[in-house]
């Protein structure tokens, strides 16, 4: 079946402009995650949606970052007034819903959106 898809694959924007990044999770996956990856580095957690619960926004680096998930499926990550330090690869992942201690569901990652702020 189809995996996680993200668009655009690459985005170049000028400092100060707003950008929207899109994620289409695997059908049937109720949990969705956004991560940020600087060049060749590990992943930094940004935000986590689980079913109809309020999202965990604890990883968002500033109030310029926001995300929403419409209809429990597609998610959009918005960065307002972009800065050069926002340049990174933004990765989305999805999984089945977490059901408590002792369970762990594999996260499936999309190919990412490479954002360059000039």
């Amino acid at each position: 079946g189809a995996g996680v898809s993200q668009s655009p694959s690459n985005k170049v924007t000028e400092k100060g402009k707003d950008v929207e990044l899109r994620c289409d999770p695997i059908s049937g996956h109720t949990a969705l995650y956004w991560y940020r990856q600087s060049l060749g580095q590990g992943l930094e957690f940004l935000i986590y949606f689980q079913g109809n619960s309020a999202p965990d926004k604890s990883g968002l680096p500033s109030d310029r970052f926001s995300a929403e998930r419409t209809g429990g499926s597609v998610s959009t990550l918005t960065i307002q007034r972009t800065q050069q330090e926002d340049s990174a690869v933004y990765l989305c992942a999805s999984s089945h819903q977490y059901r408590g201690t002792g369970t762990s569901y594999e996260q499936y990652f999309g190919p990412g959106t490479r954002l360059t702020v000039t």
Partner: protein, 111 residues
């Protein structure tokens, strides 16, 4: 400060050599995962270890979870050029399904 420290950050070896990548933390994780990532793609899960002291083998790759569930290692035997990539460890606590990633180990295997 990263919760999970990976070492080494970079490793360049010849085909046929063995190597070990380490993932260390002062925190206890309910499970720990290893991912491999190739350029332009997202990470792909290799293995999940959940029990302290657990050892899992995947062909030439051997994964171990520390007894205290604070550290893990990945050992590759007789490395091949196809093993080249970024290897990431990621830990999960009981607080939810979010993963905390290490900084990654970039492996290059030369033919």
């Amino acid at each position: 400060t990263q919760l999970l420290e990976q070492s080494p950050q970079f490793l360049s070896i010849q085909e046929g050599e063995n190597l070990t990548v380490y993932c260390n933390s002062s925190s206890v994780f309910s499970s720990l995962q290893w991912y491999r990532q190739e350029p332009g793609e997202g990470p792909v899960l290799l293995v999940t270890v959940v029990t302290g002291g657990e050892v899992k083998k995947l062909k030439r790759l051997t994964f171990q979870f520390g007894d205290a569930r604070k550290d893990s290692s990945l050992h590759i035997t007789a490395a091949q050029p196809g093993d080249t990539g970024l290897y990431l460890c990621a830990g999960k606590t009981n607080a939810g399904n979010m993963l905390t990633f290490g900084g990654g180990t970039r492996l290059m295997v030369k033919p």
